[in-house]
């Protein structure tokens, strides 16, 4: 397959994956929320309500487009894209299976974080551009939260880079080959606090993607619809898609760093097309298990108070992750034979 064809195919795949994912994650979320709350959830629109996302999409797209009074038109329209585009671009470096990856670049991990930072700016500009006090408060909160949680997240990532010696996501996955005990979350020989760093990373990715219980950007009972308050129709839809794409990225990263990515829990590997399917199915299994957990968490907990949330980061997550960093360094340097 020529390189350019591969790239184009992959772009199509990534775009449709991101779109479908966002649409059907909403469906999953509504269905999951329904069953957690002992009700059915969307059901009447198509079999099992499967056409619900399409109906929502059609409706959002056909909604009247208008700019609310007082908004900054350019920022208002660009902001959703600034949330959406980097998230989609991040998909390019995610290894869905050993060979199924758009660009296997050496700095994949760094790239995802670099793009994620654009996302924050998008949210902030959107909330500012809305010329709405609630949106503004939400934007400000969202940024302080992102800054606060970026630190433990990066520290944990650095720990993981120390462990794996690479920032290439595929390499990271390859280093976890073998039985499932080789997944990083179980590698207590590399760092005694590995499960804790998994938790920290997961919590941070929840916070970075503004998910409950850290959903300050959309704190409904406090700030109407938060940063999205003024967004009608598809602007809101794009924000939403971006948000879900970010959730997928966060969970994929967690799966890759700690749960062995596309590695099967048993040392069984295939070549060729079967191998791609085998790896992909394991990756997706892990990915969606994590996403389900995210949904599950959202429908279980109340929202944290904003300052408690910052306290959690500064008083709990950062010290522990720093300690973890030092511990890992010591463990790797002092007991290299482990």
């Amino acid at each position: 397959m020529p390189e350019w064809l591969r790239v184009i195919l992959f772009i199509i795949f990534v775009l449709s994956f991101a779109g479908l994912n966002a649409a059907y994650l909403v469906w999953c979320e509504r269905k999951g929320a329904g069953h957690i709350q002992r009700r059915i959830g969307p059901k009447e629109v198509g079999p099992f309500g499967l056409l619900q996302p399409l109906a929502d999409g059609a409706k959002l797209m056909s909604k009247q487009l208008f700019l609310p009074k007082g908004v900054d038109p350019i920022l208002f329209m660009v902001a959703p894209l600034m949330v959406m585009v980097p998230a989609i671009m991040s998909f390019c470096v995610i290894p869905f299976s050993e060979t199924f990856v758009a660009r296997e670049i050496n700095l994949g991990l760094l790239m995802i974080f670099a793009f994620a930072s654009v996302n924050v700016l998008g949210l902030l500009l959107g909330s500012w551009g809305s010329a709405n006090k609630y949106a503004l408060i939400a934007g400000a909160r969202c940024v302080s939260q992102n800054v606060a949680y970026e630190i433990p997240m990066l520290i944990t990532t650095i720990t993981m880079v120390m462990v794996t010696n690479t920032m290439n996501l595929n390499e990271i996955v390859r280093s976890q080959a073998g039985w499932f005990i080789h997944w990083h979350i179980f590698r207590l020989d590399m760092s005694l606090l590995m499960p804790v760093s998994f938790l920290i990373f997961f919590v941070c990715s929840l916070a970075e993607t503004n998910r409950a219980p850290f959903d300050m950007a959309e704190a409904e009972s406090e700030l109407i619809a938060g940063a999205y308050t003024e967004y009608p129709g598809m602007g809101f839809g794009v924000f939403f898609m971006g948000e879900y794409a970010n959730i997928v990225i966060g969970c994929a990263l967690t799966a890759i760093l700690f749960l062995g990515g596309w590695q099967a829990p048993i040392p069984l590997n295939f070549g060729g097309f079967l191998g791609v399917l085998w790896g992909m199915s394991w990756f997706f299994l892990k990915l969606y298990a994590l996403i389900f957990t995210v949904i599950w968490i959202r429908w279980t907990y109340p929202r944290t108070q904003f300052y408690e949330l910052l306290n959690l980061s500064w008083k709990v997550l950062i010290p522990i992750s720093l300690f973890n960093l030092i511990l890992t360094a010591l463990q790797i340097k002092i007991f290299p034979w482990l």
């Binding site: 009700r39 959830g41 059901k43 309500g49 409706k59 409904e220 999205y228």
Partner: protein, 165 residues
């Protein structure tokens, strides 16, 4: 008063319109907007026993910008009227109004001679699409109202009618 005059589109896409109509009808997002007693029944309709979510209408959006249908659930006082009107104006087209409960239909039990505080019915200043009587209506009636609205949007009814005995 009344619906704004919408210019008819120059070109008619019949099938597209139908699809969009189906989309709209099956994704009616109401506003988180309760005025009085009926709001509790509205919440009950969204709760597990009756589950408005089955029709894709459980996405109660707190911001009017993202809503399709305004369920006026309760008495509108004269002090509240401008706020309701603003909220309605903030909703993007196409939008619908459901008057839930007797107060929203006509002022209900609070109409008496010499009253000074309430607006006698949401249709005095909003184009109401569906009326649901009752004080308050049962959750089934609200579901029925949503179904009626879907019928109004798409032109036909997908669900069986329930005859009360």
């Amino acid at each position: 008063m009344g619906k704004e005059v919408v210019q008819p589109p120059i070109i008619h896409f019949d099938t597209l319109d139908k699809i969009l109509g189906l989309g709209r009808a099956n994704s009616l997002w109401p506003m988180t907007f309760g005025l009085a007693c009926c709001a509790i029944e509205m919440m009950a309709t969204g709760a597990a026993r009756f589950d408005l979510a089955r029709f894709g209408a459980e996405v109660f959006r707190p911001s009017p910008r993202q809503c399709d249908v305004m369920i006026v659930a309760g008495t509108i006082s004269k002090k509240m009227e401008p706020a309701v009107k603003t909220l309605y104006d903030q909703m993007p087209e196409p939008k619908w109004v459901i008057a839930m409960g007797n107060c929203a239909i006509s002022g209900g039990p609070f109409v008496f001679e010499g009253q000074y505080g309430i607006v006698e019915g949401a249709d005095k200043f909003l184009p109401v699409d569906i009326y649901i009587p009752g004080c308050p209506p049962r959750p089934e009636a609200l579901i029925e109202g949503i179904l009626e609205l879907e019928e109004k949007v798409t032109g036909h009814r997908r669900w069986p009618r329930v005859e009360a005995k």
